[in-house]
Symmetry: C2
Subunit: 150 residues, 2 copies
DNA sequence: CAAATAGTACAAATAAGTTGCATATATCGG
DNA sequence: CCGATATATGCAACTTATTTGTACTATTTG
């Protein structure tokens, strides 16, 4: 995941967003992080920006589909890069921002507290009762991550 | 799911909890509700109790395993009856409070906003990369429930 | 490079959840 | 049934996460 800075501007452009230092810095942190970040995490890492700016940036990125929200029972929100961005980074092929990508697994380590998006491990097929229409599936796994094993 | 009141006391006793009006009322609401409830929901339905009392009751019930926490991306917590309580109600056979029950699917309807525990629909087997140890799995499905279909 | 548009900062409000402490109540033994 | 003890409740106040309003500043586009 070695990222050149110019990519930041490209991505923001692709999503019809103005290129500002704040957005570049926030996006950069997500690109470089192997785990999900909370608003608090960003506040700590980017103290030069106002809390509100960070919150608004996160919302904007959510709306545009750059980030996705990870349900969490800790009382606050975690955010991760959307699958479309990950694909943009892996393949050179550019994916359109409204393509639908399959849901991935969110893994939270009870030791280090970090939440990872396990993109390669897809959610198994889910069966629901007749009459239920599925729009979105989120699989949250809690346990101990590779790095924290004894 | 036709419940006689005496069951409330029985359940609280089984879990080594004092029988108070507040706990009976809270438990009763969970027994009668087909969907998960938030602290706010209880506040609205049981205005005779202090907010703090309701929060503390919820925590006590969580600790004892009467309720379980349902991760939710709305920024606040939802609670549902634990599987062990459901089984106590269905079968006459009494289950011990520390038995482990398999995880079920949580369904949130994007139309009515309600979250149901689909007790009969178990979470399929999950595979993670080598070195990840699984402790707990939660599956959240968003979509349109039976009652809200056109 | 200036006008139009959108982003940011600061202050202040709201909402969810928690803590401390004094009072009230449930339970248990007699 | 009664009183002692442990526990639950209510109230006030606090913390933390997030939102809103508004004035100011920066980015984009021609």
């Amino acid at each position: 995941m070695n990222m050149k800075k110019p990519r930041l501007k490209e991505i923001l452009h692709d999503y019809q967003l103005r290129v500002t230092p704040g957005r570049c810095d926030v996006l950069n942190h997500f690109l470089r992080s192997s785990y999900a970040l909370s608003a608090k995490d960003l506040e700590n890492r980017l103290p030069q920006y106002d809390r509100v700016t960070l919150y608004r940036t996160l919302h904007t990125f959510l709306e545009k589909g750059i980030l996705h929200l990870i349900p969490h029972d800790g009382g606050f929100a975690y955010f991760g890069l959307s699958e479309s961005i990950r694909l943009q980074l892996d393949n050179t092929a550019r994916a359109s921002s409204n393509t639908h990508y399959p849901d991935h697994i969110h893994f939270t380590c009870t030791t280090c507290g970090r939440t990872e998006c396990l993109s390669d491990y897809m959610i198994p097929q889910v069966t629901l009762p007749q009459g239920y229409q599925i729009k979105d599936v989120d699989l949250l796994v809690k346990g101990i991550c590779q790095a924290c094993q004894v």
